[in-house]
Structures are given as structure tokens and as C-alpha cells.
């Protein structure tokens, strides 16, 4: 059971709509709608929080599920989203550049 870091891809659009995370790929227009557990994993996938912490603190903390089952389900879920290009994983923490800054949009009209 190797731990890893998970980050949201920068090539997708995403918004929580009525509690469900809606994700749309900029590259192939694929659409994904995550349930509550999936949305919790997505929200926590900041590139800095190890997957083990996501499972232990967030999934097991908020849902009535044993750790072994949670780990298995979350890993399967993460693997699937990685194969779709929605998430990426690394053994090291991942730097994400998706926080907008005003300096990012400082040009004139």
C-alpha cells in the first residue's frame, strides 16, 4: 500500500453544482459528475495532502466505512480519474498553479 499525492488536472473545468462536482475536459469534452465521496476526494486533491490522509481524515472521518474498504475504493477511483486525465498522482508533493492571482490578469484594456 504505497502512499501518494493527488492533484487536480489543470486541463479540466470543474464546478460544484447542487453538491455534485461537475468536471469537463478541455481536451476532449468528456464530462464527469462525481458523487459525494468523489467530490470529497476531488476537493482534497491539492497536491500536498497524501492519499492516506484523504482516506483517513476525510473519507473515514465523514463516511461510515472501514479503512480497508475506503482505501480500496478511493485508490480505484483515483486510478480511474488519472487514466481520464482528470487527476494526476506523484510520489512527491505536486505544485498546483491553479490559484488565480490578480497579477495573473493585470493587463490593460
Amino acid at each position: 500500500m504505497n502512499d501518494m499525492f493527488v492533484a487536480r488536472s489543470e486541463r479540466v473545468a470543474a464546478r460544484k453544482v447542487a453538491g455534485e462536482m461537475v468536471i469537463l475536459s478541455a481536451d476532449d469534452s468528456s464530462l464527469y459528475v462525481l458523487n459525494g465521496v468523489g467530490t470529497a476526494v476531488w476537493d482534497a486533491a491539492d497536491g500536498r495532502t497524501p492519499l492516506s490522509a484523504i482516506v483517513d481524515d476525510i473519507i473515514c472521518g465523514e463516511y461510515d466505512i472501514d479503512r480497508e474498504s475506503a482505501w480500496h475504493d478511493v485508490q480505484e477511483f483515483v486510478d480511474a480519474l488519472v487514466s481520464y486525465g482528470v487527476l494526476r498522482t506523484s510520489a512527491e508533493a505536486i505544485r498546483m498553479d491553479s490559484t488565480p492571482s490578480k497579477s495573473q490578469a493585470s493587463g490593460g484594456v
Binding site: 473545468a13 453544482v17 447542487a18 459528475v33 490578469a105 493587463g107
Partner: protein, 356 residues
């Protein structure tokens, strides 16, 4: 995927989320299209900071689909900064442009920023027709060059082919061109009055015989539009909403004005004076639009076309009554179905040719 997308729209509708926003960043343009409904002078566009502030508010309100349009958006020097900001907020970004300022470098930047689709207006495959509509020499060549640059980068491009008298017979050529370029193509015969109410450009709309040709072109519409409406009016239709304008969709002008739709110029608030959420949830105008169900439409609710008609409330509003019929859509429905809708039965010459 269509079902999943419908699920998302239904959830947005149930929870009053403005899922899709059309945001015109400028009305300035480097073309002067003869059918354009905009005034191209700059009356004080929102600054970069104002636009990013609005984008923050839209993200918080739940908007996912964001279309930047104009005018010609490439005339905004801050366009790529704004697109980058929007993408960092995880909007699904679509751009509408004429493309004539897009070269290799711009196409690469658009790809890098993760824009999902560009829509580029092409009026004809013939330069003399396209350029006469845009009033810019070589504009067709430049727009096509942009499409090639974008396609080479892997950016999805959609050609928008607006039909009017001047290019009525050219859509097969445009579709063939799109096919050759490997891009999608959409055809739209809608010409709307100008934003200031001037209806002079409506005269450019396709005359009935040419519109009929489009509606009966099976390569475009299959058999669907050939089928006469059932003329039955069921309860589900009457309980329905006329369209998504003001429900899950809205339009923002370069000056921060909010409207239910780009084609529905009912002033509903201004983002220089109000927060978006305040406009979206508290505007009396948007509340009025949202309150309307099909059963509240005095003429249309008793029309046999009501379940199949593409009535646009915005066009009805521009004719003077957002609860009234939109005559352009009545005429389209007549042509599609071969039977006269209620609004045409006693008032229009077109009804004399109908069989309903």
C-alpha cells in the same frame, strides 16, 4: 453523455444556479458585419480588475460554462490574462471570435490556456460574399488561416454560419469547407434587431422560400422538422419554462449590464453597482422572467405548435411583449410544419399559405 449533461442542467435549474454565462468583453470590432446588432463604440468597458472581480463572483455563484464574446475579443489587450484567470477559476471557457487576429502564437496560447472551443464566424466559402458581409477585404482568408492554426494546435473549432439574404445559398459550401478543415459547423438563420431596438437589419433575414429550403434540407435536419406538430397541448408542456434565459443562463455586457440572455435585452442590473448574486437572486426583472410558464403565454399556450416551437422570449420581448409570440419563430414553425401557428392565423399573409 447527453443524459449526464441533462442531469447537470436539471440540478442547476432546481437550485437556481447560473450554470452558463455569455460575457461580452467588448463591443469594439475589426469587422463591420452588415447584420450585426451591436454598436461598436466603446462606452466605457469594464477594466481588467472589474472583469476579474465579476469572474470571482460568477465562480462563487456556480457558473461553469463561460463564453467570452464581443465585438471582437482579440481587441482586448488583456484577453489572454482574462482567459488565464477564468481557467484558473476552473471555468469551461469558450471563445467567439472572427479569428482574423489569431496567428500561430495566439493559437498556441489558446491551446495552452485550456480553452475548450472556439467559434469562428464564416459566412461563405466565397471570399467575395464573406468579405462583403464583414466589409473587410481578405477577412475570409484570415479567418480560415486562424482555423488552420487552431486545428494544428488541437483546439476544437466550430464554424458558425449565420444565414441571411446575401449568403442564403452558400451554406453547403461552408459545410464542405468545414469538412475539409476537419471542424464542426453550425448554421443559424437568426437575425436579431439591434440592441437599441433598431429593426432595420431584420430585413436581411432569409425570405420564406429560402428559409423553407434550409428547413427541408434533409442533410441538415433529418426528418424531424418535416413532421407536422401533433397540435395536442399537454400539461407537461404548459407547466414548462419557455427557455433557460434567466433560469440557468444570463448575459453580461462589457459595461457590466446583466440581461437574461444575449438575445433578451431586458436590463436586470449592473455589476458596477451591484454584486452578481444580488442581481441574480433579487432583480425584479429576472424574477419576472423566472415566474413565466408556458401556460402564462396568452397566445402561445393555446397554439398547436407550442410543444415543438423554438419560440425565443427575447425576440418576443424585442417585439414588445416577453409573454407574446415571437413572429420570426412563428414563421419558422409555419415553414417547418406546413401549418399555421395561432399568432399567424388571423394577422399575417403567411397564414393564407398554411394548412392549419
Amino acid at each position: 453523455m447527453a443524459d449526464l449533461m441533462q442531469h447537470v442542467w436539471d440540478r442547476a435549474l432546481d437550485t437556481h444556479v447560473p450554470l452558463s454565462v455569455h460575457f461580452d468583453l467588448t463591443y469594439r470590432c475589426n469587422e463591420r458585419c452588415i447584420h450585426c446588432y451591436l454598436d461598436h463604440d466603446d462606452h466605457g468597458e469594464m477594466t481588467t480588475t472589474e472583469v476579474t472581480g465579476v469572474l470571482d463572483q460568477l465562480a462563487a455563484a456556480g457558473t461553469l460554462f463561460l463564453t467570452f464574446s464581443g465585438g471582437e475579443i482579440l481587441l482586448r489587450k488583456d484577453l489572454f490574462d482574462l482567459v488565464g484567470y477564468a481557467r484558473a477559476l476552473r471555468f469551461d471557457v469558450k471563445l467567439k471570435t472572427n479569428g482574423i487576429l489569431i496567428g500561430k502564437r495566439e493559437a498556441a496560447r489558446i491551446r495552452e490556456l485550456g480553452v475548450r472551443q472556439l467559434q469562428i464566424s464564416i459566412y461563405s466559402h466565397r471570399p467575395e460574399v464573406h468579405d462583403a458581409i464583414t466589409k473587410v477585404p481578405r477577412s475570409l482568408a484570415r479567418s480560415l488561416a486562424a482555423i488552420r492554426f487552431l486545428s494544428a494546435q488541437g483546439v476544437r473549432v466550430m464554424i458558425a454560419n449565420v444565414l441571411m439574404r446575401q449568403n442564403a445559398s452558400d451554406y453547403p459550401g461552408v459545410r464542405a469547407l468545414a469538412n475539409e478543415l476537419g471542424v464542426d459547423c453550425t448554421i443559424d438563420p437568426t437575425i436579431t434587431p439591434k440592441m437599441d431596438g433598431d429593426r432595420s437589419i431584420v430585413a436581411l433575414r432569409l425570405p420564406a422560400p429560402q428559409l423553407l429550403r434550409v428547413f427541408t434540407d434533409r442533410s441538415l435536419v433529418g426528418d424531424d422538422f418535416m413532421t407536422p406538430p401533433s397540435m395536442e397541448i399537454d400539461r407537461e408542456t404548459l407547466d414548462g419554462r419557455p427557455c433557460s434565459a434567466g433560469h440557468t443562463f444570463c448575459y453580461i455586457s462589457p459595461y457590466g449590464d446583466v440581461y437574461p440572455c444575449v438575445q433578451f435585452p431586458l436590463p436586470s442590473g449592473n455589476l458596477r453597482r451591484q454584486r452578481f448574486e444580488q442581481v441574480w437572486f433579487e432583480s425584479p426583472q429576472l424574477s419576472d422572467v423566472r415566474s413565466i410558464r408556458v401556460r402564462d403565454l396568452p397566445t402561445c399556450s393555446s397554439c398547436g405548435h407550442v410543444s415543438t416551437c423554438t419560440r425565443c422570449p427575447g425576440l418576443a420581448y424585442m417585439e414588445g411583449n416577453m409573454r407574446g409570440p415571437s413572429s420570426a419563430d412563428c414563421e419558422k414553425s409555419l415553414l417547418r410544419a406546413g401549418a399555421a401557428p395561432a399568432s399567424l392565423l388571423s394577422t399575417s399573409d403567411l397564414s393564407q399559405g398554411g394548412r392549419g
